[in-house]
Subunit: 522 residues, 2 copies
């Protein structure tokens, strides 16, 4: 574990403030003192990334794929050392970390496959018509190219899959862009290990110095310093709305604004329809609310349903199921404090009923599963109640009729997900409410829970603001690469000088749109 | 010609300030007094668009295509009346306006074809694997859906193709979004005629009231009022960097930021290599510099080449060719004044040589073709010299060696286009300079000029900032629709309730990515 910043293939630690890992389950400090990067080190990382961009951006899909596959391998090679450190820093159980490691290496290999194959480049060709009147039609060929150095802000709640070698890094590297990661202060040791694995992979596969850097340190110096640096061309972020918006604003206020994709979480409304008032649904929801101590951005924090004795009975079942689940250690002291404050502040408001709280566990930083309820009318009068409480908390909104139910969904901000639990007949009956929900979410789920984000081409992990800063992109799945590439068109460019993806004969054997027809023809 | 704002199918004129058309060729006021929309009218247009979005957004590709095709027809039905008014308001010759009308109706029909066919929706399906360990894989299906009401800011320099029924409107409507156009003050009559044609088409094809509105008036009340309205979900703009940036900032500073695509022009560098120092190149460049009185955002405003007697001789040829071309009427008094000021201010700077000016024409608002030159060293010392002068002006940068030439390209901001004129051998010789150019442009042209923007799937009309506010999108070609749509994923959604594009059996017969394979299979 290198207790320094990684600037390309060099190490550097000129700063005099340090980040230390902390075990949230014990409150104990972990080994390692990670020096925060200075402005000079930030600049040095960007310069290295700019130099690397010229070389890395021109590498073939196969070459970049080799690099990504090597990272997956080197992460696996870290073995138990990584898992132990990651569990200690995050308080997350071993099985979860092993699963998350699999997702992380799986993502890297998925992007490697995507770029080896090559059809993702959207190669589009319109051939010349020299005799067209009134003017000849030129030969035009378009494909996606890298944007340049990308900054990745690691997330606290996925120390592997949304962090140093997580989806943002994998998709940015796959797109041909050097990456500078701002390490998350909650897991500096995990970041350092993964960072070292990336550097090792880069060297092993002949990548240029500067293709990857890892900087520890403060949001102010490292985070804001990177996002405001003219050499940075895009950024990916997963975290709170407050931090995300601050960085988003900086990215947009630059003389040259850059795309800043922020995934800022959401309250993930569940529309619970009467036919679903049963113990299976209660168990399923209780499991989703408490999974990972509620620390998923897809945690179902709001359950919207129709008031009555049937719902009351369901709430009892859900409360009972929730109470049986134990409290768990939260990621950091700050997150736990913020969860407790959020719950207390919500519960202290007029008209909020505490429906259930599980037994609190022993030890520090425990997140206590909590269920509350509120009348639809009260909810409608105070949209603040729809604000995310990050942790194992959910609130049932008891609506007196369909109009109130539709209004409750109507006042929500953009969401990563929305779920509908009920019968198919009810989908017709609640059609208007469901359509409103569709207009506000990136992913809509039937008879399921929002936690568990499948990594695949059809995943959409994003959504209208503030779920994401730009609803047109996703941070999970192959689509995530599109955040970090832009099209370029070559007009009348000589065949032999074109990128191979655009040459006659289709030497890369990829899907291309040729004169309006999609084909792999040569 | 309706001298009122069009708010859906209603007309309204409650404002007390008016826009009047003006013939720039004669300085005469044209008929018609167009009342600027009030804030109430702005709000009314947005409310109508929000209501329409619910209906229009769910219409089939065929239904929307019928609407777009009807608009094309109704524009043609306006016949000579439209052409005459448009020529009078813009000072542009009849042949150009007839050509631009063809491009406008062609674009509408191109988008109609695109959405009738349906493959543009990026339908992506990953089917369930119920027995996958450790967790089952859910069924996930993703496609593009509309964002909601879109504002279009019409441009002065394309009164048809980038205006009321131009590419932004066509692509936003094709994407399923209601559109509110802020009419350009330079051609209110043209806007009114086209607006009426759109409303007529909407009624004829059964579109909802509010699917289209046209508002006359000020940037402050109408433009800023629209962009800041919470009901607006995206916007398209073509115009100056100053106006574009002001609106861009407002769009991003909203509580809920929205995508704001601004195409803000560029200086379109031409890398002129020694083998191209001949009269054919001189004639080609002179034609491009003066085409449309230089009022294209793709006008070649900067010619970068290697100093020496050969270049000096070429400059003489280019100057001679330019001098033979007549001045033409510019679009507005303001644009002409701004052109003259820009030219004077550039020419008055130390180290700038006037190489040629054509004879000035008779009459008001003439734009005089002008060619200047500057030494590479002087250019490098003052990046302001690379600022666009909108009109028939170009400047040759005489670089003493390859290093200076590369540096000159390296200091440029983002550009819509870059052109390289020379032999294939020179492409190798100047490889580094050309690669730098590639990193700064949306379209790169070999042995051709940047003017003449082909409307086709492979066109990229955009580029790194400030050419466009977001280099990942284009405002010309079928790709333009991607600015105004976002993906949504349906998880475990019942077959019969899915959009038809995502149903088993592929009832729409579109290209889909199914379990990683692109196919039209059912």
């Amino acid at each position: 574990m290198i207790e320094l910043n990684l600037i390309g293939f060099s190490t550097s630690g000129r700063g005099d403030t340090f980040t230390t890992g902390m075990n949230p389950a014990t409150g104990e400090a972990l080994s390692g003192q990670f020096p925060g990067a200075t402005i000079d080190e930030v600049n040095q990382a960007v310069t290295s990334a700019q130099d690397a961009a010229v070389v890395y951006g021109k590498m073939s899909g196969e070459e970049k794929a080799e690099f990504l596959n090597a990272i997956a391998e080197e992460i696996e090679n870290l073995g138990d050392t990584l898992v132990e450190r990651c569990c200690a820093e995050s308080g997350l159980p071993e099985a979860r970390i092993i699963g998350e490691r699999g997702r992380t290496t799986g993502q890297l290999r998925m992007f490697a496959d995507l770029i080896s194959e090559g059809s993702w480049l959207e190669a589009t060709i319109d051939t010349a018509q020299k005799d067209r009147a009134p003017v000849p039609k030129p030969d035009l060929r378009r494909m996606l190219v890298p944007m340049g150095p990308v900054v990745v802000f690691a997330a606290s709640n996925f120390p592997l899959a949304f962090s140093t070698a997580g989806g943002d890094t994998a998709s940015a590297l796959a797109g041909g862009n050097p990456v500078i990661v701002k390490a998350h202060g909650a897991h500096p040791g995990t970041s350092a290990m993964i960072g070292e694995a990336i550097v090792k992979s880069a060297k092993r596969t002949g990548m240029p110095h500067g293709v990857f850097s890892l900087l520890h340190g403060s949001g102010k110096i490292v985070g804001q310093g990177l996002i405001q640096h003219p050499g940075i061309k895009a950024a990916g972020f997963t975290g709170s709305e407050q931090a995300g918006r601050t960085l988003y604003d900086l990215a947009n206020q630059r003389p040259e604004p850059i795309p800043f994709f922020a995934e800022m979480g959401s309250v993930n409304p569940v529309l619970l329809l009467p036919s679903a008032f049963n113990s299976e649904t209660a168990d399923m929801l209780a499991g989703s609310i408490t999974m990972g101590v509620g620390q998923f951005c897809t945690n179902p924090g709001l359950i919207i349903s129709t008031a009555g004795s049937d719902l009351d009975h369901f709430i009892q079942m859900l409360g009972a199921a929730l109470s049986q689940l134990e409290s768990g250690v939260m990621l950091t002291e700050r997150i736990c404090k913020s969860y407790q404050d959020g719950v207390e502040s919500t519960l202290s408001q007029q008209g909020i009923t505490v429906e259930a709280r599980s037994e609190n566990g022993d030890g520090p930083n425990m997140g206590q599963p909590t269920l509350a309820s509120v009348a639809g009318q009260t909810f409608l009068a105070d949209p603040e109640l729809a604000t995310e409480v990050f942790g194992p908390f959910s609130m049932v909104v008891k609506c007196k009729d369909n109009a109130e139910l539709e209004a409750a969904i109507g006042l929500l901000d953009g969401q990563l997900t929305g779920s509908v639990i009920g019968s198919k007949d009810e989908l017709d009956q609640y059609h208007a409410a469901i359509e409103t929900m569709e207009s506000k979410v990136g992913r809509i789920i039937y008879n399921g829970v929002p936690t568990g984000v499948e990594v695949c081409p059809s995943m959409q992990h994003g959504g209208p603001y503030p779920a994401a800063s730009d609803a047109r992109f996703t941070s999970v799945g192959t689509g995530a690469i599109k955040r970090f590439v832009r099209p370029i068109a070559f007009q009348s460019w000589p065949q032999e000088k074109l990128p191979r993806e655009l040459q006659d004969g289709n030497p890369m054997n990829i899907w291309r749109l040729v004169n309006g027809n999609l084909s792999k023809d040569s």
